[in-house]
Structures are given as structure tokens and as C-alpha cells.
């Protein structure tokens, strides 16, 4: 059990979501140890709706023209939207993350799955806005069952996500049966050292009994998190039901959602095969159409690409389990390689579950580097994820120097 000091605490009234909105956003100043609720106006809803709109609206008011990514003034915003958290439509677990990117100096936005978004929304917040830098390593804990937000000290030695997420879920869940109600946002050691970082958003897989990780992949969001000395965000919310959003017309929502569930159930197997292999189904399609990144984008196709085809990854994925990263997502496209044992690095020999790889990771860390063994791609995927590094940026950044060094003079 980690010994934590409470550095700031904020109590708020728990209220039901009405028609998809809480009508308030959460503002946290890590430097000033301030936690506040800001109202959501009718104008915000009419013009900005939610998600990226809310993120950018908050940042528009929160930062200045010349704010740099590592100024305390930079904000890390995570927003949800009116549909977020419903259990009828695929993709409804998504959050949108924005910040001033360490890589470009301008705002970046990423979308990410997992449980954090809906749980934070149902805890009472349409968006989370984090500014400032903490004096010491901290975590932020949103207790959506009790109506409390806390900034707590974080002496945790571990920052790598596959361990930290699981540690925090075990720490904040009421008991092992309720781990599914906790979600963690974290980065890793990589994000503390490079700019090509990501954020990991966890979800507890009840069958596999592991924390799986989805990524807000692009633009260095993990580096901003760690620059603020924020180790993780944790949310706990136990009251999820299919009507927690209190939609205007639940009956139509559920009927329409069910129609979509059934169409996906019937059609996916002969279309994108998302439920079977996830986005990895794209490898052979891209290769057939001369679009697969090969050897630092020099080619669009390779005869060796068959060894990275979805059929090869299917042999590694555990089949026949509901794999969606949000409840009720019938597309269920995330896959996991269970019982994977890294052959290299500090976690060599330990058994892990690796969420993925997505097509982009197969392309970026596989074909574009002429790495043709699917197990090698899975291992790169595992390390990038736990270190908080974006697999696309990693693969592409390695491809240029590797290609340059291997070119004949």
C-alpha cells in the first residue's frame, strides 16, 4: 500500500448527467494546488458540443499565444461528449486529449479509448483541465462515488504503465471484484526522456484479470504529463448503467443501438473482421494496394508482408472473448496477445498481456523497419506502451536513421 499525503481536496455535489451533460468542467492547477468546478454554458454546448471542441475552448482561454509546451501555463485537457459512455454505439468510450505539443509547439488532439472517459464523465465532469506544474510527484484521484477530487503525493517508484496502472487499480478499487470500476491515465519512463510520447488510458479486463492500455498516441501528451510531475490520473465510478447518460429518448437509443449491434454481429466477419483481428486486418489490404509503409516509406508493398498479415497475428491473439475497450462496443476491435514473454529488456522473462498491435504499430514498427516477425512487433508494442512512447512516432523516427545508415553510398 503506497503511503500518500493529500495535498489538496475538493468535494463536489454528485448530480445525474442530464441528456449527456454534467454542465461543469474540472479545473486543476497542480502548482497552486487548486481544484475548481467551472460551469458549461449553453453557448459551449451549442457551438463546441464537447470532446475536442470543449478541450480547445478551455485551452483558448487558458493559455497564451506564446505559451510553450513546458511552461506551467500549458494545459493538458481531456474532454468527453454527450454520447460518451453510452453502451449502445461502438466507440462511445472515447475521450479527446489536447495540449500544446512538445513536437510542434501548437495544439495537438488525440482520441483514446479505455474506461477513463466515461467514468470521469459519470463522476460529474464534461472535461478535465490540468494546468501548472506540481512541486513534487503527484497523482490526481477523482472519486466519482464519493464526489471528491484529490491531489495526492506519488512516491510510487514505478512509472511504467503496465505495472503502474495495475498497482493504482488495485490500490483504489474497493475490492478485487470492483477493479473494473477504476481507470488510470499514465505514461512511463520513455515519456520522461523523449518527446514522442503518448498517454495510456487503462481498462480492467475482468476475464484476463489484467489492466489493458489504450493510447492517446500522438504529439507528446505523455511528456507534458510527466513535465507537470503528474504520474497518473485515477478515476473510480461504480454506478454505470445503460441509461446513466439520461438521454431524452432511451427507447430509440437502445433500439437503434441494438440494430447496429446485430448488423455488426452479422456483417463484421465478412467485412473488416474487426472482432476477429482488429485493425491488423488492414495489413494485407494496404500491401495489395501498394500503400503499406516499407523501408522508410520507400516502397508500398513487399513479398515479405505476408508474415505480418492479420492471419499471423490471429495466431497470437486470444480469440472468442469480448474485447471492446468500452462496454457495449460491438465492434470490439482491440485484441490482446496473452501470456506474452518479452525476450529482451528489463521485463525479459515476465509474462504480460499486450493490447494490440494496431495496424499503425504493425506498419510503423514492422514493415517500415523491415521487421517481419510478428512477435518482434508485439514486443516493440509492449515496450512502447509501458514506457509511454507512441508506436507510430517511434517506428517512423527510427526508420529514417536506420535507412540512412543502411543506404549504399
Amino acid at each position: 500500500m503506497t503511503d500518500r499525503r493529500i495535498l489538496a481536496e475538493f468535494s463536489y455535489e454528485l448530480k445525474p448527467v442530464i441528456k449527456g451533460y454534467n454542465r461543469r468542467t474540472l479545473y486543476i492547477d497542480l502548482g497552486g494546488k487548486k481544484i475548481e468546478s467551472k460551469p458549461v454554458s449553453d453557448m459551449m454546448i451549442d457551438k463546441f458540443v464537447g470532446g475536442k471542441g470543449f478541450d480547445l475552448y478551455l485551452m483558448w482561454h487558458g493559455v497564451k499565444d506564446d505559451t510553450k509546451w513546458n511552461d506551467p501555463e500549458n494545459e493538458l485537457c481531456i474532454a468527453f461528449g454527450p454520447l460518451c459512455g453510452n453502451t449502445s454505439y461502438p466507440g462511445s468510450g472515447k475521450s479527446i486529449v489536447t495540449t500544446i505539443s512538445p513536437l510542434t509547439g501548437i495544439p495537438v488532439d488525440c482520441n483514446v479509448g479505455g474506461h477513463f472517459g466515461p467514468y470521469a464523465k459519470f463522476s460529474g465532469w464534461d472535461a478535465i483541465e490540468i494546468q501548472g506544474k506540481a512541486d513534487e510527484e503527484v497523482i490526481v484521484y477523482i472519486d466519482g462515488d464519493a464526489g471528491k477530487v484529490k491531489i495526492m503525493s506519488a512516491p510510487d517508484k514505478e512509472t511504467n504503465s503496465h505495472i503502474l496502472a495495475e498497482n493504482l487499480i488495485n490500490e483504489f478499487a474497493e475490492n478485487p471484484d470492483k477493479r473494473q470500476f477504476v481507470s488510470v491515465v499514465s505514461a512511463g519512463q520513455g515519456a520522461e526522456n523523449v518527446l514522442i510520447s503518448c498517454l495510456n488510458f487503462s481498462f480492467w479486463d475482468k476475464r484476463r484479470k489484467v489492466a489493458r492500455l489504450k493510447q492517446a498516441g500522438r504529439g507528446g501528451t505523455g511528456t507534458v504529463l510527466r513535465d507537470k510531475k503528474l504520474k497518473a490520473l485515477v478515476v473510480k465510478y461504480s454506478g454505470l448503467k445503460g441509461d446513466t447518460n439520461n438521454p431524452v429518448d432511451l427507447e430509440t437509443l437502445q433500439k437503434t443501438g441494438l440494430k447496429l449491434h446485430k448488423e455488426i454481429e452479422e456483417g463484421d466477419a465478412t467485412q473488416c473482421r474487426m472482432r476477429e483481428v482488429g485493425t491488423a486486418h488492414l495489413v494485407e489490404i494496404m500491401n495489395d494496394y501498394d500503400l503499406l509503409p516499407v523501408k522508410n516509406f520507400k516502397y508500398g508493398q513487399s513479398d515479405e508482408a505476408s508474415s505480418l498479415s492479420s492471419g499471423e497475428f490471429k495466431k497470437l491473439f486470444t480469440q472468442g472473448l469480448p474485447d471492446g475497450c468500452w462496454f457495449g462496443c460491438s465492434l470490439s476491435c482491440c485484441k490482446a496477445v496473452d501470456g506474452f514473454v518479452p525476450r529482451t529488456g528489463p521485463y525479459k522473462g515476465q509474462t504480460v498481456s499486450v493490447d494490440g498491435p494496431e495496424y499503425e504499430t504493425v506498419g510503423g514498427c514492422g514493415s517500415n523497419l523491415c521487421i517481419w516477425d510478428p512477435k518482434d512487433v508485439v514486443e516493440l508494442n509492449f515496450y512502447c506502451d509501458t514506457y509511454g512512447i507512441d508506436t507510430i512516432s517511434f517506428g517512423t523516427s527510427c526508420a529514417l536513421p536506420w535507412n540512412a545508415m543502411s543506404m549504399e553510398s
Binding site: 453502451t87 449502445s88 473494473q180 475482468k206 476475464r207 454505470l240 448503467k241 445503460g242 441509461d243 427507447e251 437502445q254 443501438g257 441494438l258 449491434h261 446485430k262 455488426i264 454481429e265 472468442g320 472473448l321 469480448p322 471492446g324 462496454f327 457495449g328 460491438s330
Partner: protein, 130 residues
């Protein structure tokens, strides 16, 4: 394994089983709230009640579906969040939903309807197959 077996060749489509079921579980006489559905056709009626095949169990993300010691698939209301993946997964369309209830419902082979059937078209049967 216990389940409700249907004999459509005997069914006279009186719908008394639907009334018995919906009255028992929803306290109202409404075929939309029954766990057995009788659909009249040009030939013999189509009778639909869960066969306890268990395919839905794997589709549930919260482990709210389980098979009990008698082989009956049960819905745990406390764990169910009403995502309806099970309804989509059911190969016989025997998992139902209704307005005003988040948790879906299905035949649990309780036998209440069999006591009301005048035509011996529904029976609770046990077989030893796995």
C-alpha cells in the same frame, strides 16, 4: 442440463404461456414482457424460448451471464449494465429487452408456463448432455 422444450406441433397459439410468464416476472399481462414468445404463422406456431446454449455468456463484458449448476444461463442484475451485446449475440433471438427495464431477460426454465399450457406444447426437460 435443464431447459424449456417446445413442441410446436401441439401448440394452439392461445398465448396463455406468455401471460403466465409476464405476470409472474413483470406483474403485467404483456407478451412483450414474456420470456417465451409465440408467433402465429401459416403453418404451426413458432415458439421461441432460450435453449440454454450458452453462446451469450462469452459476449458479456461484465461477466453478468453465467451458467448455473442445472445448466441454465442466468442474468446477474447487479453486474449487468444493459449494453445488450448478449441480445445481439443470441443465435435464436431469445434474449429480450423491454421499455423501462435496463437488464435484459430470458427464459430460466422455471416451468411456470408449463403449468398453464392446455396443449402439452411446453415441458421442462433435463438431459445429461454437456
Amino acid at each position: 442440463m435443464k431447459s424449456l422444450k417446445t413442441y410446436p406441433e401441439n401448440c394452439v397459439a392461445c398465448h396463455v404461456c406468455e401471460s403466465a410468464c409476464s405476470n409472474l416476472y413483470f406483474k403485467v399481462d404483456d407478451p412483450e414482457k414474456s420470456r417465451i414468445r409465440i408467433t402465429e404463422t401459416d403453418s404451426q406456431p413458432r415458439m421461441n424460448a432460450c435453449t440454454q446454449c450458452g453462446i451469450c455468456v462469452q459476449s458479456c463484458p461484465t461477466l453478468a451471464l453465467s451458467i448455473n449448476s442445472q445448466g441454465v444461463v442466468m442474468v446477474n442484475q447487479a453486474l449487468c449494465i444493459g449494453c445488450y451485446m448478449c441480445i445481439a449475440a443470441c443465435p435464436t433471438g431469445s434474449m429480450f429487452r423491454t421499455i423501462g427495464a435496463i437488464t435484459p431477460f430470458k427464459c430460466v426454465a422455471c416451468g411456470a408456463c408449463t403449468k398453464t399450457c392446455p396443449a402439452d406444447a411446453i415441458r421442462i426437460e433435463e438431459n445429461k448432455e454437456s
